[in-house]
């Protein structure tokens, strides 16, 4: 009984972390139609930058926010200098995003070395919280809260602000948005900053659970892809629900079907692609 309760709670908390990972990916993919294969690298680089800020004596939250800011700047720079020229050129986008991920991976190895680095759980959240018959790490529960806060903030921004209206218009029909005078190119840069920033923030938030190590990028990127495929592209709600579905699939799948542990996420992803290409919650096929 405890086992199932623990798995259930963990499904939701893992979903929270995965939402932080995939929200930016989904926004970028939805608005710009760019499969950003650098997203895992953004997550890892953010985490490493957070490590350096922590090393300077900053607190956990300050380090996380500064890492997010740094990643936003880096992401914006990448969009301005590289991706800007490649609108509609899928192959060139694949080449440049993969090339960048090679560079970032090797750069991290150069700067931070190969040893895994663990981030300490922030003060005040290092304990455990009793939930019915189990205890659960407070920090993981806090991640759910943060994910919800970010989801709500993003939702408000998308639904209630002028900027959000412009973004939605851009997602639905970029050429039309241009015609009605929305500066889509500035919007793209902004979305890329936002997406990279959230990914960097997620990297730091994941630190106390996943630690930071070379190869973290490659472990994370497929998860972001799976979430966006399962949830449906370009919608925030899709990313959120997709994350929670992946959380549940992952937790219960590993226990119930240990024989297919290696493909526990890719098999559902394939089935969705084949039979419901718009994703579980999406309206349009990618």
């Amino acid at each position: 009984m405890n086992q199932w309760l623990l798995l259930g709670v963990n499904s939701i908390t893992l979903g929270g972390l995965l939402f932080l990972l995939s929200a930016g990916f989904s926004l970028i993919f939805g608005l710009m139609r760019i499969p950003n294969l650098t997203h895992g690298s953004f997550f890892m680089l953010g985490a490493y930058i957070g490590v350096s800020f922590l090393g300077l004596g900053l607190g956990f939250w300050a380090a996380a926010l500064l890492a997010a800011a740094a990643m936003a700047v880096i992401g914006g720079g990448i969009e301005r200098l590289l991706l800007r020229r490649l609108a509609g050129q899928e192959l060139a986008q694949v080449l440049v995003t993969l090339g960048l991920s090679f560079m970032i991976a090797d750069l991290c190895l150069m700067i931070w070395g190969g040893d895994p680095i663990s981030l300490d759980t922030p003060a005040g959240l290092s304990g455990a919280v009793p939930i019915a018959s189990i205890v659960f790490p407070a920090y993981r529960l806090a991640i759910v809260v943060i994910a919800v806060v970010i989801a709500v903030a993003l939702w408000l921004m998308l639904e209630r602000t002028r900027l959000g209206a412009m973004i939605r218009a851009g997602v639905d029909d970029a050429p039309m948005a241009r015609v009605v005078g929305i500066r889509v190119s500035r919007l793209f840069t902004l979305i890329f900053c936002l997406g990279a920033g959230i990914a960097g923030f997620a990297g730091v938030m994941g630190g106390p659970i996943l630690s930071v190590y070379p190869g973290l990028d490659a472990d994370m990127l497929p998860l972001a892809l799976i979430i966006v495929i399962l949830g449906g592209t370009g919608s925030l709600l899709g990313a959120l629900l997709g994350s929670i579905v992946v959380g549940f699939l992952y937790n219960f799948g590993q226990v119930l079907f240990p024989e297919i542990a290696y493909i526990i996420l890719f098999l559902p992803m394939l089935l969705i692609l084949l039979f419901r290409p718009q994703g579980l919650f999406g309206r349009h096929a990618p």
């Binding site: 139609r33 499969p35 590289l82 020229r85 490649l86 050129q89 899928e90 192959l91 060139a92 694949v94 080449l95 440049v96 993969l98 090339g99 960048l100 991920s101 090679f102 560079m103 970032i104 991976a105 090797d106 750069l107 150069m110 490659a218 497929p222 892809l225 495929i229 024989e259 297919i260 542990a261 290696y262 493909i263 890719f266 098999l267 992803m269 394939l270 692609l273 084949l274 290409p277 096929a285 990618p286």
Partner: protein, 321 residues
């Protein structure tokens, strides 16, 4: 004329490689380039000519690799093993194609990625068949017509012959009516249906052809390394092949070959001198996108033409249109 001459020179240089490349080590590197070039030629049929970007082709490369190693280990003769591996490969490719051709564009890419990852997972977990991460050893290379391929030079010639057959077959295909149809389905799939073409079947045939050469490359790779492990099916391997095609110039005959040479040389030769070769390789990819987004081969041709015109005193702009 110039093209024919250049092709003749390249062919002579390749045929005489054991004479001008001293030492088996560099000849082996050249064999590896040719093996990856066959792989990239196969992948390019889909990526470049069908407009279908696959991130799962290492799965096909790997299936052929495993099939031949497994069959030889199970006691089959080399010829039977090779033919059996090709049969397994084509069956796998057909299934792969039927599933992934339900979609195009990003959907196709994601389906191929998922299937590739599933094949990779199977290589790790279906230990009875694959040996898990310990892999399978291939006891010996084949001996076609009694000629041993154990050493670098005969193996190189064997690979070169297969490479030339692959190159010729792709060249013939691209110039054929079916090749033209394939390019049509890449540019205007709906229009092609309205013109009377069976778009799905054309893509399916191209997928089989693409899978065939990817798998043949896998066979050669298995003969070369005499070892196969799940690494060959990894997402990284699929991405690497795709990078070869795109960096060299997708949709061109020679592009994938140049891309294969770039990646193999960076990984195996440059890495002996440059500690941060991985960073450099990434930087080269980014630079290619910046300076010749169409890829190395067409990009160099364009720059070369411009340079030629400038040398002859023709203003660069006048030469273009």
């Amino acid at each position: 004329m110039i093209r024919a001459a250049a092709a003749a020179v390249a062919l002579c240089a390749l045929a005489a490689a054991p004479l001008w490349i001293p030492g088996g080590y560099y000849l082996n590197i050249l064999s590896q380039i040719l093996i990856y070039a066959i792989f990239a030629l196969g992948l390019n049929l889909l990526v470049g000519y069908a407009g279908l970007v696959s991130l799962g082709h290492a799965g096909l490369f790997g299936v052929a690799c495993y099939a031949v190693a497994w069959l030889v280990a199970a006691g089959a003769g080399q010829l039977v093993a090779a033919l059996g591996a090709l049969a397994v490969l084509l069956a796998t490719t057909a299934a792969f194609a039927v599933l992934s051709l339900r979609s195009a564009g990003i959907g196709f890419l994601m389906i191929t990625l998922a299937i590739g990852q599933i094949l990779w997972g199977m290589a790790y977990r279906w230990i009875d068949l694959t040996g898990g991460d310990n892999g399978i050893n291939l006891a010996a290379r084949p001996q076609p017509f009694g000629i041993s391929l154990a050493f670098a030079t005969p193996f190189y010639y064997f690979t070169l012959i297969v490479f030339l057959v692959a190159l010729a077959s792709v060249a013939v295909f691209i110039a054929s009516p079916l090749g033209a149809s394939l390019k049509g389905t890449r540019d205007q799939p709906r229009r092609m249906s309205a013109l009377g073409y069976n778009v799905w079947l054309i893509r399916f045939l191209a997928f089989l052809f693409s899978g065939l050469w990817s798998g043949v490359a896998g066979l050669l790779f298995c003969y070369y390394n005499q070892f196969v492990s799940p690494n060959v099916l990894s997402l990284g391997s699929s991405a690497e092949a795709l990078l070869m095609v795109i960096s060299g110039g997708s949709g061109t005959l020679l592009g994938p070959i140049a891309g294969a040479a770039l990646v193999v040389v960076m990984k195996n030769v440059a890495s002996a001198y440059i500690e941060r070769w991985n960073f450099l390789l990434g930087a080269i990819f980014v630079a290619i996108v910046l300076f010749m987004p169409e890829g190395l081969v067409p990009g160099s041709a364009r720059l070369g033409r411009r340079l030629w015109l400038r040398l002859r005193g023709v203003p660069a702009a006048g030469g273009a249109r």
